[in-house]
């Protein structure tokens, strides 16, 4: 039954249903009043990177060893690392300066993938607006460092996987270390045994 104008009427019925629906059905009115209602972000949503440190003291517990892989791999090159040197000038396994310019960073999360030491992760904080363009948009080390507990807070599953992996690495390393220590001990024991009774053939 399509007399002229029926299409328009159907259109009116749809808008009427939406108009009344927005008062009745909950899924139609999806606007969230932002400052009052905070959006509930899904678990692995990401905004800008941050550095993870274990234990309490940020400096000591920092996982980052300044290997600069992320600095090389970062597509927009927004990470800037300078390795720490001790008094004698010998490079240490710690970054002295670790800056991320979050006005350049496009939160693509490649640094998280390529980091072999699980030291950089993606934060979920998105209220980062600031007044001065350069000062507060370049996050230096102190602003980037956040505890592992915080990491567990924002990405629980991913954090527990990372901890499990670190645990496994540590155990493997210990096992390897133990094995090496044990092998070294065996070698020294043989050498000692050899040294004990005269060395028939020296060479």
């Amino acid at each position: 039954m399509n007399f002229p104008g029926i299409g328009l009427l159907k259109g009116f019925v749809v808008t009427a249903r939406n108009f009344l629906g927005s008062y009745v059905e909950k899924d139609r009115l999806t606007t969230r009043q932002y400052p009052e209602e905070r959006p509930k972000l899904p678990e692995n949503s990401r905004s800008f990177p941050f550095l993870v440190f274990d234990g309490e003291d940020p400096e000591a517990g920092m996982r980052c060893v300044a290997c600069k892989i992320c600095e090389k791999e970062c597509p927009p090159q927004c990470i800037y690392i300078i390795q720490d040197r001790d008094a004698a000038g010998k490079p240490l396994k710690r970054p002295r300066i670790f800056d991320i310019d979050i006005s350049v960073c496009m939160s693509c999360q490649i640094c998280v993938e390529v980091c072999p030491f699980e030291s950089i992760r993606m934060d979920t904080d998105y209220e980062l607006s600031s007044f001065d363009r350069f000062g507060s948009l370049v996050l230096d080390k102190s602003k980037l460092l956040k505890s592992n507990a915080y990491y567990h807070g924002i990405h629980p599953t991913e954090a527990s996987e990372t901890d499990a992996r670190i645990e496994a690495d540590r155990k493997k390393k210990e096992a390897a270390a133990a094995a090496k220590a044990e092998a070294a001990r065996k070698a020294t024991a043989e050498k000692a045994a050899k040294a004990a009774h005269p060395p028939e053939e020296t060479k």
Binding site: N2, L8, T15, I69
Partner: protein
């Protein structure tokens, strides 16, 4: 674009673009293969996952990597979800162009938000997903994702019926869209068009059926074709394609197997594909999106070329608009459905 008018009718029309040119291809030549993936998100920013897939498909043909079955299924699910939200957004945009003060636009975006929330739960970002890797996907589906995707796909036909009730029979919309800028199949093929516009003109060419890339042969779906090829057909083709995508999604969500998400042998960081060249293409929501890569064995692509469907579809805009009224130019540009990120790269 600057349009020369004689009273109401269009005499000359010259699109002016290039304002969103970000030198995408030169940057990709300076960065490693992996670093190019997040840039493909920004090509056609309305459907990032299909861009990723096109790039990784090209790299996989270049390096000859196999992709595990679960990854293929996830790729098809995300691509069809992207096509769905693109076509739904298109329906909203074309109504806004015609001055309907955004009612259809808001309904479309209400549904699109649900799809974007699914993307955020899976990839971490709503639009800049950066999710596909060489040989598979970056991470596996979070728990409960498949159920919520199933729910969404379940409710989608009802929403599409509501949109069609609002739009398809609407006499004003018929008057504004029908008979405007018809396109003959020969003209469409000679113009190098691809995607819904080509199929609206009556040419049966869908790369998902032609190339059968990524296990598409395993799913049963139909490819709609128009007869007249005017704006109304272009609009209706997208509506019908959205329904087909829902069919594919239903089958894919049920049949997804378990298994690894990425090919374990594929190296992501220092990835050095063998020297040579490859052209990988997929059926993006806007048309045939292709990547032509030349590798000289080093860890940086020697040449990184993108075949942008929006730009190529746009070349026919002037010819379609000549002789039409000024109000039609808006509708014709809307019906071609371009995204400037892809036009200017």
């Amino acid at each position: 674009m600057n349009v020369t008018l004689d009273g109401e009718t269009v005499v000359k029309l010259q699109p002016v673009f290039g304002y969103l040119h970000r030198n995408h291809e030169k940057i990709a030549e300076g960065n490693s293969w992996l670093a190019a993936v997040p840039y493909t998100d920004r090509l056609d920013y309305i459907c990032p996952l299909t861009n990723n897939w096109a790039y990784t498909l090209a790299v996989e043909t270049l390096a000859g990597l196999e992709v595990p079955e679960r990854a293929e299924y996830i790729r098809i699910i995300t691509a069809e979800l992207t096509r769905l939200q693109n076509h739904v957004a298109f329906m909203g945009f074309i109504l806004a162009d015609m001055g309907a003060w955004g009612s259809a636009l808001m309904y479309a975006f209400r549904e699109r938000e649900k799809i974007l929330d699914l993307f955020e739960a899976l990839t971490g970002a709503r639009m800049m997903c950066n999710y596909m890797r060489f040989g598979g996907c970056r991470c596996d589906l979070p728990s409960g994702w498949l159920e919520s995707a199933g729910q969404l796909v379940e409710g989608f036909p009802a929403f599409l019926d509501e949109m069609e009730a609002l739009l398809t029979g609407n006499e004003i919309l018929l008057a504004r869209l029908q008979g405007v800028a018809p396109l003959t199949p020969e003209r469409a093929i000679n113009g190098g068009l691809s995607g819904p516009i080509l199929r609206a003109a009556g040419v049966d060419y869908d790369i998902r059926k032609v190339d059968n890339y990524g296990l598409y042969s395993r799913f049963k779906f139909r490819v709609p074709r128009g007869r007249v090829g005017d704006c109304y057909d272009r609009f209706m083709i997208r509506v019908l394609e959205a329904r087909e995508s829902v069919e594919i999604l239903k089958q894919a969500l049920v049949g997804i197997p378990d298994g690894p998400v990425v090919n374990p042998k594929a190296k992501q960081r220092g990835f050095r594909p063998p020297a040579g060249e490859a052209y990988g293409r997929i059926e993006g929501p806007k048309g045939e999106l292709g990547f032509y890569l030349i590798s000289d064995g080093s860890d940086r692509p020697y040449r990184f070329r993108v075949r942008p469907p929006s730009l190529i579809n746009l070349t026919l805009l002037e010819e379609l608009c000549l002789g039409t009224k000024i109000a039609d130019v808006m509708v014709i540009l809307g019906s071609i459905d371009i995204v400037l990120g892809e036009v200017d790269r």
